[in-house]
């Protein structure tokens, strides 16, 4: 048996090799970093059905109710609303005391049992970027067509949208902190695109 920690050490996140670039491109105005290895579990159940109830019981909490809703904070388990029958469960990196994605997927799959729905491990399917700073919103305004004003896009809400041409989940964690989740194959491009937009603030 190989030690779990040794296995975890062999993980590579999509932007690991860009860490330096992210650092040099960051400043107090706008800073970009990757938050790697979050467990992300795709949940497909229709709200207000036994399937949803089963997952809610397993998660000991309700699924988010509508567009933009997020059930918790980055440091804990939380669920994002993606569509009326699609949610994304996110928990911290296993190496930081979070969940083993495979195990949690199995647990939730078991909870769903025979009911309609789907539980899929998507941890490696996307990565998470964090953009923070007083100019962060302006950096995003350069490529996101949504209304990012705090009134329209309040803290604690997450939307599925486009950043430039790339599909992302965009989540406002604090007034000045955003999480941006592109699919992994787009991560390099997304990071380069954001860094390009940040240059004027460095």
């Amino acid at each position: 048996m190989v030690e779990r920690t040794a296995v975890l050490e062999r993980r590579r996140s999509p932007l690991q090799r860009m860490a330096r670039e992210l650092e040099t491109g960051s400043s107090a105005n706008a800073a970009l970093r990757e938050v790697p290895f979050l467990a992300q579990i795709g949940l497909r159940v229709v709200a207000d059905t036994p399937s949803a109830a089963a997952l809610e019981a397993a998660l000991s909490g309700p699924l988010p109710e509508g567009v933009g809703d997020v059930t918790g904070l980055p440091g804990d388990r939380h669920v994002l609303w993606l569509a009326p029958d699609e949610f994304l469960l996110i928990t911290p990196d296993e190496a930081d005391g979070g969940d083993d994605p495979v195990r949690i997927t199995d647990e939730l799959t078991a909870a769903l049992g025979e009911l309609p729905g789907q539980v899929v491990d998507l941890s490696a399917n996307r990565t998470t970027l964090e953009l923070r700073g007083p100019r962060a919103q302006e950096v995003l305004d350069k490529s996101c067509r949504l209304d990012l004003d705090p009134v329209a896009f309040p803290v604690g809400s997450a939307l599925v949208t486009l950043l430039g041409t790339v599909g992302v989940v965009l989540w406002r964690v604090t007034p000045d902190t955003w999480r941006i989740m592109p699919r992994s194959s787009f991560a390099t491009h997304t990071a380069q695109w954001l860094l390009d937009g940040m240059r004027e603030f460095v």
């Binding site: 567009v67 993606l82 569509a83 009326p84 699609e86 067509r145 949504l146 939307l159 599925v160 949208t161 486009l162 599909g167």
Partner: protein, 97 residues
């Protein structure tokens, strides 16, 4: 950039959507029972009205859900978007068939 109201996500820019042509054209119950002519109608013929049109969109870069819209092809005004069957008030328009 049209602004389109996704019934699930609210108003979003056109770039997040993909167009799906005429709405309410169901896949035939039993295609094998159709004549070539009828099958061609299903495959290739769609209404193309100048005026009110009931059409489909999918919120492809959002919730990925299909929905229908009533749009005027002259003014591009979208008067409503809806899920499922067409709302009654739209029945009189020339887009309907």
């Amino acid at each position: 950039m049209l602004m389109i109201e996704c019934p699930h996500c609210g108003v979003r820019p056109e770039g997040e959507f993909t167009y799906g042509g005429q709405a309410h054209v169901p896949y035939p119950e039993d295609p094998q029972a159709l004549t070539d002519e009828e099958w061609a109608q299903y495959l290739f013929y769609r209404d193309n009205p100048k005026g009110t049109f009931r059409e489909r969109w999918v919120h492809s870069a959002g919730c990925r859900k299909w929905f229908n819209a009533i749009r005027d092809t002259r003014t591009y005004d979208i008067t409503s978007t809806y899920l499922g069957a067409a709302p009654a008030e739209a029945n009189s328009t020339q887009g309907a068939q």
